[in-house]
């Protein structure tokens, strides 16, 4: 055996021993149905390149995962995205999912909330409570989180442009529950760049948006240290039609833009980088997806250590949430989607995800029903508990195919990153429309391949049946918009008006001062029951609006 290799081996075993004290493995030993032992890790004992390219799990460059024992200690967090209608209804669904064994919450907000309009705004017409829960004031947030212990449950919030406002509301609800903000765990998406590229819920132009984001990094670094301050998302880029390589490349380019902005604002890289999280898509091409996750980890680790000179290994680790690919689901023969989701979820697990959302079979038709949402959660539970894939770390590591694919994805991602660097970084590339064009080109090519049947989608362009697709779908109550408006009016009538005006005035003042951190001002306004729309309007006046 090579001497260096054996040293590295020893070092890894030490870190495993350390981790086992904190996170013992789920079982004393793991084995298959034939009583064959399953070891923690399989690796080549005499391979000089192994440490450079793959490394042990939990060690640079994290190709094989960010923890030494991965799912042998703890499964990924099963986190189903949910939210519709009123805060009260959504709260009911959350409590149902927690009872069913879900381990984290994920809040979907309706579009008016995501774009900073109150439910009674003209722009909100027809959209209130449709794709998520409507939140106007702290009152709604209290109802949303009622009886959910914020010291035990971690909450992920898909909120971007007004992320600071919703985070402030979460902090305020925590305080009312007696949970100090230092103890809160969860994630805000807070990734505005991909909104310009692919998702569309932007409000302000890039510059003030980047300021809001670095304000959050700074504030949370000091006061909410366990919260993930951003979830840099490739998911929506992929949904918009990109390839796997584009998904990783554009996401990492965006990640670099956030790091650049925070460093420029005077933050130390190790003060915020450990709280950066990522969010990827799990699509259909099984091995490419697994390779994609492994390559993304390696690319990010190298960038953080070598380019940004981060010292803390936590800054090097790419931690990510995965959601199965919504755009891969078909409205035709919707039960087939369960099978698609299963394979995509398996790819995410074999790729080493930290948390996972599995889509429901009926999402190409409407928001999922309770039954569909349960099957989706059960899919993850079956993979975790029955398949055995979680019993050894990075089971596909060392496969000729997987490693070659991982190398290739990494190489192509780096070529894109070089291209984006030449364009002046992600922000310039977005303003110039580069990423949007690249994604659109791929989306269109995909559509043509499907129409020419060069790409087969079962049930859509092959193996079709005559069917009447009319399954039971979730309906959002038409009266909801009216009720939500009435409830907002009631809050507006009964809150301390002077307090609202003065906190908003202070926010307006702070917004004019580029060096002021806006988080404390937003927190004060939120606690006075100022609405999402009122706060955003103050900021719209100061910052302007993107693309309008």
């Amino acid at each position: 055996m090579n001497i260096n290799q054996s040293d590295l081996d020893k070092k890894w075993k030490e870190s495993v021993d350390a981790i086992l004290k904190r996170f013992p493995e789920r079982k004393e030993s793991f084995h298959t149905s034939s009583e064959i032992d399953v070891d923690r890790l399989y690796y080549p004992e005499n391979d000089k390149d192994y440490q450079d390219k793959l490394g042990f799990p939990g060690e640079f460059p994290y190709t094989r995962g960010i923890q030494p024992t991965m799912y042998r200690s703890k499964y990924w967090t099963m986190r189903q995205y949910a939210g519709f209608g009123s805060a009260k209804e959504t709260n009911k669904r959350f409590r149902y999912l927690l009872e069913q064994g879900q381990t984290g919450l994920s809040v979907a907000f309706d579009l008016p909330t995501q774009i900073g309009y109150d439910s009674d705004d003209m722009m909100a017409e027809g959209e209130v409570g449709r794709v998520g829960v409507a939140i106007d004031t702290l009152h709604d947030m209290e109802a949303l989180l009622e009886q959910i212990p914020l010291d035990k449950v971690s909450t992920s919030m898909t909120i971007n442009a007004p992320a600071s406002i919703l985070l402030a509301m979460y902090i305020a609800v925590g305080e009312k529950q007696g949970v100090p903000k230092e103890k809160l765990t969860g994630t805000i998406q807070n990734d505005i760049l991909k909104e310009y590229i692919a998702r569309g819920t932007y409000i302000f132009p890039p510059k003030p948006s980047m300021r809001l984001i670095t304000n959050i990094f700074e504030y949370c670094g000091e006061h909410v240290p366990r919260f993930n301050t951003i979830s840099i998302s490739g998911y929506h880029i992929r949904e918009a039609g990109s390839t796997a390589v584009q998904e990783v490349a554009f996401t990492i380019a965006n990640g670099m833009a956030y790091v650049d902005a925070a460093i420029e604002a005077g933050l130390d890289v190790d003060a915020f980088a450990p709280r950066l999280a990522f969010f990827f898509n799990a699509h259909n091409n099984f091995f490419e997806e697994i390779a994609k996750f492994r390559a993304a980890r390696r690319v990010w680790a190298k960038i953080m250590r070598d380019h940004y000179q981060a010292k803390n290994p936590k800054s090097w680790k790419l931690r990510f949430h995965t959601q199965t690919g919504g755009s891969t689901l078909t409205a035709q023969q919707p039960d087939n989607n369960i099978v698609r989701v299963t394979m995509q979820a398996l790819a995410a697990v074999l790729g080493g995800t930290q948390s996972l959302h599995t889509n429901s079979r009926d999402e190409a038709l409407a928001l999922p029903t309770e039954e569909s949402a349960r099957i989706a959660l059960r899919t993850q539970q079956i993979i975790a508990n029955e398949s055995g894939v979680a019993d050894t770390v990075d089971p596909l590591g060392g496969s000729y195919f997987i490693e070659a694919m991982t190398d290739k994805v990494e190489e192509e991602v780096e070529a894109y990153l070089e291209q984006i660097k030449e364009l002046g970084g992600a922000v310039s590339a977005i303003e110039e429309g580069y990423m949007q064009r690249e994604i659109h080109r791929t989306a269109y090519e995909t559509q043509l391949r499907i129409e020419k049947e060069e790409e087969i989608i079962v049930g859509l362009n092959k193996y079709k049946i005559d069917e009447e697709v009319n399954p039971e779908l979730l309906k959002v109550d038409e009266a909801l918009e009216r009720h939500q408006k009435a409830s907002l009016q009631e809050i507006k009538d009964n809150r301390d008006h002077d307090m609202v005006v003065s906190t908003l005035k202070q926010l307006e003042w702070a917004a004019k001062k580029p060096d002021e951190n806006l988080m404390p001002y937003i927190l004060n306004a939120v606690k006075a029951y100022a609405s999402v729309g009122e706060i955003c309007n103050i900021l719209r006046n100061e910052f302007g609006e993107y693309g309008i």
């Binding site: 579009l111 008016p112 995501q114 774009i115 309009y117 003209m122 722009m123 909100a124 017409e125 027809g126 959209e127 449709r130 794709v131 909104e195 998702r199 569309g200 819920t201 949904e239 918009a240 039609g241 755009s327 078909t330 409205a331 035709q332 190409a364 038709l365 409407a366 928001l367 659109h440 989306a443 269109y444 559509q447 043509l448 129409e451 859509l460 009447e468 697709v469 009319n470 779908l473 959002v476 038409e478 693309g547």
Partner: protein
């Protein structure tokens, strides 16, 4: 042929525009001119854009569930601008049970996930085709019933000075015809060859004179289809073989205020 103009619009706050963008490009590749509004358009903005851009059809896309409110609003706004002749179609994540509702509210058709661009393009051509494809671009000929070609032809050649292009017997109609060119069009003189001929019956009933007016069309089958959709009845919905191997079909005078119109597609050029 003027290009079909399409407005693709995203009503409401939904930011998912992959479908809208793919459709826009796909229709462009089908030879249409497509204007895309971008995100977050109000129904009034969409109606205004449709009129300003002088489009033939508006395509709405929504994946947020707001279609029940917003799609009918666009139809209403077009009405307010006196532009209800511009048809509205839609697409996105739209449950089957909402499709009937939307169609009742005046949306012509809903395309859901899995529809192909070809399908959509064919539908649009069909929907707005008659006006655009210049159905009435010229009169192919005016048919005149005569008892005897031999007797009538000299009036056209000698008195009016027209050129006799040729004589032809059309067995399916039991007629002999003579074509006389006048500018871009022709007179078609029809002489019955048997008592079964519709021309014989026509002369019996109304005497000699103008029998029908033939309109030159391209793609007669699709014209028959789209005119039928607009409530026009045909005497024969399957095209028949006419003079010069052209394909012909007659609209029923009941649906054309008493005039017998013939659609005529010249096959293989003049």
């Amino acid at each position: 042929m003027a290009k079909i103009r399409v407005l693709i619009a995203k009503p409401g706050l939904d930011g998912h525009d992959r479908g809208a963008l793919v459709i826009a490009q796909g229709l462009r590749d089908h030879g249409m001119e497509v204007v895309y509004t971008g995100l977050r358009q109000s129904p009034a903005q969409i109606a205004k854009a449709a009129i300003q851009e002088d489009v033939d059809v508006v395509g709405l896309s929504s994946l947020s569930g707001a279609h029940r409110t917003l799609f009918p609003k666009v139809v209403e706004e077009l009405k307010l601008f006196n532009a209800s002749d511009i048809p509205v179609i839609g697409g996105g994540v739209i449950p089957a049970e909402d499709i009937a509702f939307l169609e009742k509210q005046g949306i012509k058709k809903i395309f859901t996930s899995g529809s192909s661009i070809d399908e959509l393009a064919a539908y649009i051509i069909d929907l707005v085709g008659p006006m655009k494809e210049e159905l009435t671009k010229k009169i192919s000929h005016i048919g005149i019933a005569v008892k005897s070609l031999e007797h009538s032809i000299p009036f056209y050649t000698k008195i009016l000075g027209l050129n006799l292009e040729g004589l032809e017997e059309i067995e399916s109609e039991n007629v002999k015809v003579a074509f006389l060119k006048i500018g871009e069009s022709r007179f078609e003189l029809l002489e019955p060859t048997s008592v079964d001929s519709p021309i014989y019956k026509f002369i019996e009933k109304r005497g000699e004179g103008i029998h029908h007016i033939a309109i030159d069309v391209e793609d007669i089958e699709s014209r028959i289809r789209s005119l039928s959709k607009n409530g026009i009845q045909f005497i024969n919905t399957e095209p028949k073989l006419g003079a010069h191997h052209s394909k012909i079909a007659f609209m029923h005078p009941k649906s054309t205020q008493g005039v017998l119109f013939e659609l005529c597609e010249e096959v293989g050029g003049k």
